[in-house]
Protein backbone atom coordinates (compact mmCIF):
# COMPACT_ATOMS: atom_id res chain seq x y z
CA UNK A 1 0.00 0.00 0.00
CA UNK A 2 1.37 3.35 -0.98
CA UNK A 3 0.72 5.81 1.81
CA UNK A 4 -0.92 8.87 0.45
CA UNK A 5 -0.46 11.38 3.25
CA UNK A 6 0.53 14.69 1.71
CA UNK A 7 2.84 16.77 3.81
CA UNK A 8 4.18 20.30 3.67
CA UNK A 9 7.18 21.64 5.53
CA UNK A 10 7.18 25.36 6.25
CA UNK A 11 10.47 27.15 5.66
CA UNK A 12 11.12 30.27 7.72
CA UNK A 13 14.19 32.38 6.89
CA UNK A 14 16.42 30.58 9.40
CA UNK A 15 14.69 27.26 9.74
CA UNK A 16 17.41 24.69 9.82
CA UNK A 17 15.72 21.36 10.42
CA UNK A 18 13.47 21.75 7.39
CA UNK A 19 15.59 19.41 5.31
CA UNK A 20 15.79 16.91 8.17
CA UNK A 21 12.01 16.85 8.53
CA UNK A 22 11.57 16.52 4.80
CA UNK A 23 13.99 13.63 4.45
CA UNK A 24 12.49 11.79 7.41
CA UNK A 25 9.05 12.16 5.82
CA UNK A 26 10.32 11.12 2.45
CA UNK A 27 12.02 8.10 3.94
CA UNK A 28 8.77 6.91 5.47
CA UNK A 29 6.22 7.94 2.85
CA UNK A 30 8.30 7.64 -0.29
CA UNK A 31 7.11 11.09 -1.27
CA UNK A 32 8.92 14.38 -1.06
CA UNK A 33 6.92 16.81 1.04
CA UNK A 34 6.21 20.26 -0.35
CA UNK A 35 8.51 22.95 0.96
CA UNK A 36 6.49 26.11 1.64
CA UNK A 37 8.21 29.49 1.97
CA UNK A 38 7.06 31.62 4.88
CA UNK A 39 5.92 34.46 2.63
CA UNK A 40 3.28 32.30 0.92
CA UNK A 41 -0.19 33.11 2.06
CA UNK A 42 -1.68 29.77 1.12
CA UNK A 43 -0.75 26.16 1.54
CA UNK A 44 -0.59 23.93 -1.52
CA UNK A 45 -3.94 22.23 -2.17
CA UNK A 46 -4.66 18.88 -0.59
CA UNK A 47 -2.14 19.02 2.24
CA UNK A 48 -2.88 16.67 5.14
CA UNK A 49 0.03 17.47 7.43
CA UNK A 50 1.92 20.71 8.00
CA UNK A 51 5.29 20.47 9.70
CA UNK A 52 6.81 23.49 11.40
CA UNK A 53 10.45 22.45 11.59
CA UNK A 54 13.18 23.18 14.08
CA UNK A 55 15.67 25.97 13.70
CA UNK A 56 15.97 29.60 14.62
CA UNK A 57 13.24 31.01 12.34
CA UNK A 58 14.27 34.63 12.96
CA UNK A 59 17.50 34.06 14.83
CA UNK A 60 15.49 33.50 17.99
CA UNK A 61 15.76 37.24 18.42
CA UNK A 62 13.34 38.97 20.83
CA UNK A 63 11.69 35.62 21.68
CA UNK A 64 11.89 32.30 19.90
CA UNK A 65 9.09 31.94 17.41
CA UNK A 66 7.72 35.44 18.01
CA UNK A 67 8.48 36.85 14.59
CA UNK A 68 7.67 33.68 12.70
CA UNK A 69 4.23 33.68 14.34
CA UNK A 70 3.40 36.77 12.29
CA UNK A 71 4.53 35.48 8.91
CA UNK A 72 1.87 35.26 6.26
CA UNK A 73 2.05 31.50 5.99
CA UNK A 74 1.01 31.13 9.63
CA UNK A 75 -2.44 32.48 8.88
CA UNK A 76 -2.82 29.66 6.38
CA UNK A 77 -1.47 27.13 8.85
CA UNK A 78 -3.96 28.29 11.43
CA UNK A 79 -6.80 28.00 8.93
CA UNK A 80 -5.60 24.49 8.09
CA UNK A 81 -5.69 23.57 11.76
CA UNK A 82 -9.11 25.16 12.19
CA UNK A 83 -10.35 22.90 9.42
CA UNK A 84 -9.05 19.97 11.42
CA UNK A 85 -5.80 19.54 9.47
CA UNK A 86 -2.80 18.10 11.28
CA UNK A 87 0.07 20.37 12.34
CA UNK A 88 3.33 19.12 13.85
CA UNK A 89 5.65 21.67 15.42
CA UNK A 90 9.08 20.38 16.34
CA UNK A 91 11.38 22.42 18.58
CA UNK A 92 11.27 25.90 17.04
CA UNK A 93 8.01 24.79 15.45
CA UNK A 94 6.58 24.22 18.94
CA UNK A 95 7.79 27.68 19.94
CA UNK A 96 6.03 29.17 16.91
CA UNK A 97 2.83 27.34 17.83
CA UNK A 98 2.79 28.76 21.34
CA UNK A 99 3.56 32.24 20.04
CA UNK A 100 0.57 32.02 17.67
CA UNK A 101 -1.44 30.71 20.64
CA UNK A 102 -2.39 27.65 18.64
CA UNK A 103 -1.02 25.84 21.67
CA UNK A 104 -1.19 27.21 25.22
CA UNK A 105 1.75 28.22 27.38
CA UNK A 106 5.24 29.38 26.47
CA UNK A 107 8.72 27.94 26.08
CA UNK A 108 11.15 29.81 28.26
CA UNK A 109 14.91 29.76 28.50
CA UNK A 110 16.24 26.43 29.80
CA UNK A 111 16.47 26.56 33.56
CA UNK A 112 20.24 25.98 33.48
CA UNK A 113 20.57 28.78 30.90
CA UNK A 114 22.46 26.55 28.53
CA UNK A 115 21.70 25.03 25.16
CA UNK A 116 21.26 21.27 25.54
CA UNK A 117 21.94 18.68 22.89
CA UNK A 118 21.76 15.02 23.80
CA UNK A 119 19.57 11.95 23.69
CA UNK A 120 16.80 12.09 26.21
CA UNK A 121 14.31 9.59 27.51
CA UNK A 122 10.66 10.41 27.05
CA UNK A 123 7.46 8.82 28.20
CA UNK A 124 4.60 8.71 25.74
CA UNK A 125 1.82 9.90 28.02
CA UNK A 126 -0.94 9.85 25.48
CA UNK A 127 -1.30 7.35 22.69
CA UNK A 128 -4.73 8.55 21.62
CA UNK A 129 -3.85 10.98 18.91
CA UNK A 130 -3.03 11.00 15.24
CA UNK A 131 0.59 11.54 16.21
CA UNK A 132 1.04 8.88 18.84
CA UNK A 133 -1.33 6.03 18.10
CA UNK A 134 1.50 3.69 17.16
CA UNK A 135 3.09 4.13 20.55
CA UNK A 136 1.53 2.72 23.68
CA UNK A 137 0.75 4.93 26.62
CA UNK A 138 3.53 4.78 29.17
CA UNK A 139 6.08 3.61 26.58
CA UNK A 140 9.62 4.98 27.01
CA UNK A 141 11.33 6.29 23.88
CA UNK A 142 14.65 8.01 23.14
CA UNK A 143 14.66 11.22 21.14
CA UNK A 144 17.38 13.84 20.98
CA UNK A 145 16.85 17.36 22.24
CA UNK A 146 18.69 20.37 20.84
CA UNK A 147 17.41 23.64 22.19
CA UNK A 148 18.14 26.61 24.42
CA UNK A 149 14.54 27.50 25.18
CA UNK A 150 12.42 24.47 25.82
CA UNK A 151 11.35 25.15 29.37
CA UNK A 152 7.58 24.73 29.10
CA UNK A 153 5.55 27.04 31.28
CA UNK A 154 1.83 27.59 31.68
CA UNK A 155 -0.28 28.63 34.63
CA UNK A 156 -1.62 25.96 36.95
CA UNK A 157 -5.14 26.09 35.56
CA UNK A 158 -3.89 25.52 32.03
CA UNK A 159 -1.63 22.69 33.16
CA UNK A 160 -4.49 21.02 35.00
CA UNK A 161 -6.66 21.34 31.98
CA UNK A 162 -3.99 19.91 29.66
CA UNK A 163 -3.57 16.94 31.91
CA UNK A 164 -7.30 16.52 32.50
CA UNK A 165 -7.99 16.46 28.78
CA UNK A 166 -5.18 14.03 28.03
CA UNK A 167 -3.30 16.58 26.00
CA UNK A 168 0.19 16.05 27.38
CA UNK A 169 1.54 13.81 24.64
CA UNK A 170 5.16 13.43 25.78
CA UNK A 171 6.93 13.94 29.07
CA UNK A 172 10.57 13.79 30.00
CA UNK A 173 11.09 10.53 31.86
CA UNK A 174 11.91 10.92 35.56
CA UNK A 175 15.42 12.32 35.87
CA UNK A 176 15.50 13.43 32.21
CA UNK A 177 13.88 16.84 32.43
CA UNK A 178 16.69 18.71 30.69
CA UNK A 179 15.21 22.20 30.68
CA UNK A 180 13.07 22.71 33.77
CA UNK A 181 9.70 22.27 32.06
CA UNK A 182 6.78 22.30 34.45
CA UNK A 183 5.34 18.88 35.09
CA UNK A 184 8.07 17.42 32.82
CA UNK A 185 6.12 18.40 29.75
CA UNK A 186 7.89 17.74 26.45
CA UNK A 187 5.00 17.87 24.01
CA UNK A 188 1.35 18.88 24.03
CA UNK A 189 -1.74 18.56 21.87
CA UNK A 190 -4.27 21.20 20.93
CA UNK A 191 -7.83 21.05 22.11
CA UNK A 192 -8.94 19.30 18.93
CA UNK A 193 -5.87 17.04 19.18
CA UNK A 194 -4.82 17.83 15.61
CA UNK A 195 -1.87 20.05 16.54
CA UNK A 196 1.17 18.66 18.32
CA UNK A 197 4.11 20.69 19.54
CA UNK A 198 7.15 18.98 21.02
CA UNK A 199 10.69 20.04 21.85
CA UNK A 200 12.57 16.76 21.16
CA UNK A 201 13.33 15.82 17.56
CA UNK A 202 11.56 12.70 16.26
CA UNK A 203 12.94 13.35 12.76
CA UNK A 204 16.47 12.77 14.04
CA UNK A 205 15.67 9.22 15.15
CA UNK A 206 14.30 7.62 12.01
CA UNK A 207 17.59 6.07 10.86
CA UNK A 208 19.54 3.49 12.88
CA UNK A 209 22.81 5.03 11.72
CA UNK A 210 21.90 8.24 13.47
CA UNK A 211 21.32 6.64 16.82
CA UNK A 212 17.83 5.23 16.86
CA UNK A 213 14.47 4.70 15.21
CA UNK A 214 12.07 5.65 17.99
CA UNK A 215 10.83 8.64 16.00
CA UNK A 216 9.45 6.55 13.17
CA UNK A 217 6.27 5.57 14.97
CA UNK A 218 5.28 9.21 15.22
CA UNK A 219 5.38 9.67 11.47
CA UNK A 220 3.86 6.23 10.92
CA UNK A 221 0.98 7.19 13.19
CA UNK A 222 0.34 10.17 10.97
CA UNK A 223 0.61 8.13 7.80
CA UNK A 224 -1.85 5.62 9.15
CA UNK A 225 -4.29 8.31 10.24
CA UNK A 226 -4.00 10.70 7.35
CA UNK A 227 -2.92 8.46 4.50
Amino acid sequence: MVPSMRAAVIVFPASNCDRDAASALEGLTGQKPQMVWHQQSELPAGIDLVVLPGGFSYGDYLRTGAMAAHSSVMAAVRAHADRGGAVLGICNGFQVLTETRMLPGVLMRNAALKFVCHMTELVVSESQSAFTRKYSAGQHVSFPVAHGEGNYYADEATLDRLEGEGRVAFRYAPGHNCNGSTRDIAGILSEKRNVLGLMPHPERVCDPLLGGTDGRALFQSLIETLG
Binding site: M67, L113, N151
Partner: protein
Protein backbone atom coordinates in the same frame (compact mmCIF):
# COMPACT_ATOMS: atom_id res chain seq x y z
CA UNK B 1 9.89 60.85 19.22
CA UNK B 2 11.53 58.11 21.19
CA UNK B 3 9.89 55.35 23.16
CA UNK B 4 11.36 53.04 25.73
CA UNK B 5 9.55 49.82 26.45
CA UNK B 6 10.17 47.64 29.46
CA UNK B 7 9.19 44.03 29.09
CA UNK B 8 9.40 42.12 32.34
CA UNK B 9 8.14 38.80 33.61
CA UNK B 10 4.85 38.84 35.45
CA UNK B 11 5.24 38.23 39.13
CA UNK B 12 4.92 34.57 39.94
CA UNK B 13 6.71 33.51 36.75
CA UNK B 14 10.03 31.94 37.63
CA UNK B 15 13.05 33.84 36.31
CA UNK B 16 16.08 31.56 36.03
CA UNK B 17 18.27 34.36 34.70
CA UNK B 18 17.47 36.59 37.63
CA UNK B 19 18.16 33.73 39.98
CA UNK B 20 21.52 33.03 38.39
CA UNK B 21 22.49 36.69 38.64
CA UNK B 22 21.52 36.85 42.29
CA UNK B 23 23.53 33.72 42.95
CA UNK B 24 26.57 35.06 41.13
CA UNK B 25 26.37 38.40 42.96
CA UNK B 26 26.39 36.59 46.27
CA UNK B 27 29.34 34.56 45.06
CA UNK B 28 31.17 37.80 44.34
CA UNK B 29 30.61 38.88 47.91
CA UNK B 30 27.75 41.32 47.45
CA UNK B 31 25.71 40.85 50.59
CA UNK B 32 22.15 41.90 51.04
CA UNK B 33 21.04 41.21 47.51
CA UNK B 34 17.51 39.89 47.56
CA UNK B 35 15.43 38.94 44.58
CA UNK B 36 16.78 39.79 41.13
CA UNK B 37 14.62 39.87 38.00
CA UNK B 38 15.82 40.37 34.48
CA UNK B 39 13.75 41.86 31.71
CA UNK B 40 14.17 43.56 28.38
CA UNK B 41 14.34 47.19 27.50
CA UNK B 42 13.56 48.13 23.93
CA UNK B 43 14.34 51.60 22.64
CA UNK B 44 12.44 52.71 19.58
CA UNK B 45 12.77 55.71 17.32
CA UNK B 46 9.42 56.79 16.00
CA UNK B 47 8.47 59.18 13.24
CA UNK B 48 5.24 60.00 15.10
CA UNK B 49 5.43 63.24 17.04
CA UNK B 50 2.05 63.14 18.74
CA UNK B 51 2.46 61.54 22.16
CA UNK B 52 -1.03 60.05 22.36
CA UNK B 53 -0.77 58.46 18.96
CA UNK B 54 2.75 57.29 19.65
CA UNK B 55 1.73 55.66 22.90
CA UNK B 56 -1.18 53.92 21.24
CA UNK B 57 1.05 52.63 18.47
CA UNK B 58 3.66 51.35 20.89
CA UNK B 59 0.97 49.65 22.94
CA UNK B 60 -0.12 47.83 19.80
CA UNK B 61 3.47 46.85 19.12
CA UNK B 62 3.77 45.42 22.60
CA UNK B 63 0.54 43.47 22.34
CA UNK B 64 1.34 42.11 18.91
CA UNK B 65 5.05 41.48 19.13
CA UNK B 66 7.22 42.96 21.83
CA UNK B 67 5.74 41.14 24.79
CA UNK B 68 4.28 37.70 25.23
CA UNK B 69 1.48 38.60 27.54
CA UNK B 70 1.12 35.03 28.74
CA UNK B 71 4.13 35.62 30.96
CA UNK B 72 5.26 39.18 30.38
CA UNK B 73 4.00 42.64 31.20
CA UNK B 74 5.16 45.88 29.67
CA UNK B 75 5.54 49.55 30.49
CA UNK B 76 5.95 52.34 27.98
CA UNK B 77 7.92 55.55 28.46
CA UNK B 78 7.95 58.28 25.85
CA UNK B 79 10.65 60.90 25.43
CA UNK B 80 10.47 63.53 22.76
Amino acid sequence: MKARVFVTLKSGVLDPQGKAISHALQGLGFDGVGEVRQGKVIDLELAESDATKARAAVRDMCEQLLANTVIEKYEIELKS
